[in-house]
C-alpha cells in the first residue's frame, strides 16, 4: 500500500483511492464522536445539538455556562473531590505492590510462574460486573461496602495487572549484568534497586501508574456497587446524569476529560520514546 506505481491499471488506481477513502471514513468514525462534544459543550442553550446560532458561528450561540455549572455545582464538585481522593491512593497502592512483584516475576527461577501470573492478571480479565458483584457480596460481609477504603482497595486490585504488564515489559530488556556489576561494587540489593534498576524501569512504572490511575479514575461499575453516596465519583455522577436528568454539563465534563486523556497520551508517548532511547544505549 505504499505509493501507487506508474504502471498501475485503472482498476488498481480506483481501488487504491477508494481504499484510502474507506480508511478515512473509519478514522472519521473513530474520532468524530470525541471531537463533536467539544464544540457542543460551549452551547449557550441546554440542547444536545448544534443550534442555528452555533452553525452561523454567532458568538451569542456559544457560552461557558456549562463549564461554570461544573465548577460551581456542589454535586459535581463533590464528585470531582471524591475522584481526586480515590484515584491517587489506589494508584499508589497498585504501583508499589505491582512494581515489586514485577521485579520478582522477572527473576530467572520463579516457581509456579504460570499460576501466579494467572492470579495476578485475573482482575483485568474477569468482566467488571462480576468483579463488582463478588466484591459487593464479600465487602458487605466484612463491613467494607460503602466505605472509602473499600473503593480504594477494589480500584487498586483492578489496576495492578496493568502495572505488572508494563513493568514486566520494560524488565524484559533489562540487562541483569548491571545488577551484578552494582553488587560487585559493594551496593546492597536495596541500593541496587533504587540506583540502578529503578531509573531504567521508570518509564514502565510511570506508564503502569498512568494505566492504574485511568482505571480508577474512569471506573464506574465497581464504585456503583461498592460505594455509598459519600464515594460518588465523577464517572458515577456522569452515569446517573446520563441515565436520569441528562444535563449538558456532562458535555463540559466530557470535554475536560478528553483534555486529560490527551495529556496522558502525550506523557505516555514521551515515555515510550525515552524508554526506546535508553534501551538503545544499554549494551547487549
Amino acid at each position: 500500500m505504499s505509493a501507487l506505481p506508474p504502471y498501475a491499471s485503472p482498476l488498481q488506481r480506483t481501488w487504491y483511492y477508494s481504499f484510502r477513502v474507506i480508511c478515512g471514513l473509519i478514522f472519521f468514525f473513530l474520532i468524530f464522536p470525541i471531537l463533536v462534544i467539544l464544540p457542543l459543550s460551549f452551547n449557550a442553550q441546554d440542547f444536545f445539538t448544534f443550534t442555528k446560532e452555533m452553525l452561523a458561528l454567532n458568538p451569542a450561540g456559544y457560552s461557558f455556562k456549562h463549564y461554570q455549572d461544573f465548577f460551581t455545582n456542589p454535586d459535581w464538585q463533590q464528585a470531582l473531590t471524591n475522584s481526586v481522593m480515590i484515584a491517587p491512593v489506589a494508584t499508589l497502592l497498585a504501583t508499589s505492590f505491582g512494581t515489586i512483584a514485577a521485579v520478582g516475576l522477572s527473576q530467572s527461577h520463579v516457581p509456579y510462574k504460570p499460576a501466579i501470573m494467572a492470579v495476578l492478571i485475573s482482575p483485568m480479565i474477569v468482566p467488571l460486573i462480576i468483579s463488582a458483584a463478588g466484591m459487593y457480596f464479600f465487602y458487605s460481609r466484612i463491613g467494607l461496602q460503602g466505605t472509602y477504603w473499600g473503593v480504594v482497595l477494589a480500584h487498586a486490585a483492578l489496576g495492578t495487572p496493568f502495572v505488572i504488564i508494563t513493568v514486566t515489559a520494560t524488565l524484559v530488556g533489562f540487562d541483569r549484568s548491571l545488577v551484578r556489576a552494582s553488587a560487585s561494587l559493594g551496593a546492597n540489593p536495596v541500593t541496587t534497586f533504587f540506583k540502578v534498576q529503578m531509573p531504567l524501569i521508570v518509564p514502565g512504572v510511570v506508564s503502569g501508574a498512568l494505566f492504574a490511575f485511568i482505571t480508577s479514575f474512569d471506573e464506574v461499575v465497581v464504585v456503583l456497587f461498592l460505594g455509598s453516596a459519600g464515594q460518588k465519583t465523577l464517572p458515577w455522577q456522569m452515569f446517573t446524569g446520563l441515565r436520569e436528568q441528562i444535563s449538558p454539563t456532562i458535555l463540559a465534563v466530557a470535554s475536560l476529560m478528553v483534555a486529560i486523556s490527551i495529556v496522558l497520551l502525550t506523557v505516555l508517548e514521551m515515555l515510550r520514546r525515552r524508554s526506546e532511547r535508553l534501551r538503545g544505549l544499554t549494551p547487549g
Partner: protein, 421 residues
C-alpha cells in the same frame, strides 16, 4: 550429598559439595522472588480472588432455611411428599416453635422473600403467619391454627418447596439461571413465556458476535493501512486510534447518546440534507442498534492494536514475491498476506469478544430494553430485586464463559504477550 560415583566430589571453596551449594543458591533465589511477589499476591487474593470465590459459593449457598427453621427442617425429613397429604401435627408444632423465635428476631420475612424466588406467594404467607403466630394457642393443636391463619399451609406445594430447599446447598439458583425448575416429575424447562435468561444469554452472545465482526471489518483495513504506511505517517494516524482508546468510556458513551438521539446531531443532519423528513427521524438509540454502534466504536481500538502488531511483522517481500510469480493483487493478498495475519485476527477477535460479553455500562445507557446484556440483569438482581443468589449463579455462568474464552486467547497469544499501547 554422598555423590561419590565420580570418584571425586567437586566442592566450593569452603569445602561444601558444589551441587549442594548450587541447589541452595537456587532455592534462595526462588524464595527471594517469591518474597517479592508475595505482597501483591496476598493483596490480590484478599481483595479480588476471595470476593470471586465468595460469589461462587453464594450461587449454591442456602443455609437460611435451616438457620431460621431448624426444628421444622428436622421434622420434615420424616414426611413423604408422595403421600399426597400435608405433614402431621408434629411438623406443625416444630414450625410453631421455630416461627416464634424467628418472629422475635424478625428473620421470618427474610426467609419468606428467599423462598418467594422459588414459588411466588410464600413471602406474603410468612408475613401473614408471622403476625398471627403470637396469638396462637400455645397448647395446640397447631395444624388447624396454621391452616386457619392461611390456607396455603394446607397445600402440598408449600411444604414441597420448604422441604426441597431445606438442605444447606441448592442448585435452585442455577436451575433458575437455566430457565429450569424442579417439579414433581424432576427438572424441566419453565413455561415458554417465563424463559428470560436463556434468551438474554443468547442475545448477549449474538450481539457480542455482531460487535466482534463489525470491529474486525472496520479494524482490518485500518491496521493494514497503518502497517503499510511509513512509520512517520502511521505514528500520526495511530493517534486517531489511541485517543479514543484513552478517552473515558463514559465520555464516549455520552458522545454517542448525543449523536444518536432523535433530536441529536445525526438526525438533525439527515433532516437538514433532506434525506429523511422531520417526522420520520431514525430511532438509533435505546435499542440494539445503539448498543452495536456505540460498542463497536468503544472496542475498535482493541481490535486494531493486536492486528497492527501482527501485521507489522509480516514482511512485504512475500507479497512482492507472490506478485513477481504472477499473482494478481487479490490472490497475493488472499493467499499470501491474509493467512499470515490470521493470528492477529484471532487475538483481536477473542479480546473484543471477551470484553463485550461482560459489558455493562454502555448497554445500560444506550441499549434500552432490547439492547441489554446478561450483565445488566445481574446488576438488576443485585441492586433492585435483591435476589443475590440468582445474581451469583448468572455471574458464575458468565465467568465460566469468559474463562473458556480466555484459555483460547492464551493458546493464540499467550498470557505473557499481552501488550498495552
Amino acid at each position: 550429598m554422598s555423590d561419590t560415583t565420580a570418584g571425586q566430589v567437586l566442592t566450593t571453596k569452603d569445602g561444601k559439595p558444589l551441587k549442594a551449594a548450587l541447589a541452595r543458591a537456587l532455592r534462595r533465589e526462588k524464595l527471594r522472588s517469591l518474597a517479592l511477589i508475595a505482597p501483591l499476591l496476598i493483596f490480590v487474593l484478599l481483595t479480588f480472588v476471595a470476593p470471586i470465590v465468595d460469589m461462587l459459593f453464594r450461587s449454591v449457598e442456602n443455609s437460611i432455611v435451616e438457620d431460621t427453621l431448624p426444628r421444622t427442617v428436622v421434622a420434615l425429613r420424616e414426611w413423604d411428599p408422595a403421600s399426597g397429604q400435608v405433614p402431621d401435627e408434629e411438623v406443625f408444632a416444630a414450625l410453631y416453635g421455630d416461627l416464634v423465635v424467628a418472629v422475635e428476631e424478625k428473620k421470618h420475612t427474610r426467609l419468606g422473600s428467599r423462598l418467594n424466588y422459588e414459588e411466588s406467594g410464600i413471602s406474603s404467607l410468612f408475613r401473614k403467619t408471622g403476625r398471627r403466630v403470637n396469638r396462637m394457642d400455645e397448647a395446640g393443636p397447631f395444624k388447624e391454627q396454621f391452616i386457619d391463619a392461611d390456607d396455603k399451609w394446607d397445600e402440598i406445594g408449600t411444604w414441597q418447596v420448604l422441604r426441597q430447599f431445606s438442605p444447606p446447598y441448592t442448585d435452585g439458583y442455577f436451575l433458575n439461571a437455566f430457565d429450569a425448575q424442579r417439579t414433581a416429575d424432576g427438572i424441566e424447562l419453565k413455561p415458554e413465556d417465563e424463559r428470560i435468561y436463556m434468551l438474554l444469554f443468547g442475545r448477549t452472545l449474538f450481539l457480542s458476535i455482531v460487535i466482534t465482526v463489525s470491529c474486525l471489518l472496520l479494524g482490518y483495513p485500518i491496521a493494514f493501512l497503518l502497517a503499510a504506511l511509513p512509520l512517520r505517517s502511521s505514528n500520526l494516524l495511530m493517534i486517531l486510534v489511541l485517543l479514543p482508546f484513552w478517552t473515558s468510556l463514559l465520555v464516549r458513551t455520552s458522545a454517542w447518546k448525543v449523536l444518536l438521539q432523535q433530536q441529536g446531531v445525526i438526525n438533525d443532519f439527515l433532516v437538514w440534507t433532506g434525506l429523511i423528513s422531520d417526522a420520520s427521524r431514525l430511532v438509533m438509540i435505546n435499542n440494539q442498534t445503539g448498543t452495536i454502534i456505540a460498542m463497536t466504536h468503544i472496542l475498535l481500538p482493541f481490535m486494531i492494536l493486536p492486528l497492527y502488531s501482527v501485521m507489522k511483522t509480516i514482511s512485504p517481500t512475500y507479497v512482492r514475491a507472490a506478485k513477481s510469480l504472477g499473482a494478481n493483487d487479490w490472490t497475493a493478498f488472499w493467499r499470501v498476506y491474509f493467512p499470515q495475519s490470521v493470528p492477529g485476527i484471532g487475538a483481536g477477535a477473542v479480546l473484543v469478544f471477551i470484553l463485550s460479553i461482560g459489558y455493562y455500562i454502555t448497554p445500560e445507557l444506550v441499549g434500552g430494553t432490547s439492547g441489554i446484556f446478561i450483565s445488566n440483569r445481574i446488576a438488576y438482581h443485585i441492586s433492585s430485586s435483591l435476589n443475590w443468589g440468582l445474581a451469583a449463579a448468572l455471574g458464575t455462568l458468565l465467568l465460566v464463559a469468559v474463562m473458556v474464552l480466555f484459555v483460547v486467547y492464551d493458546k493464540i497469544v499467550g498470557i505473557d504477550n499481552v501488550k498495552l499501547g
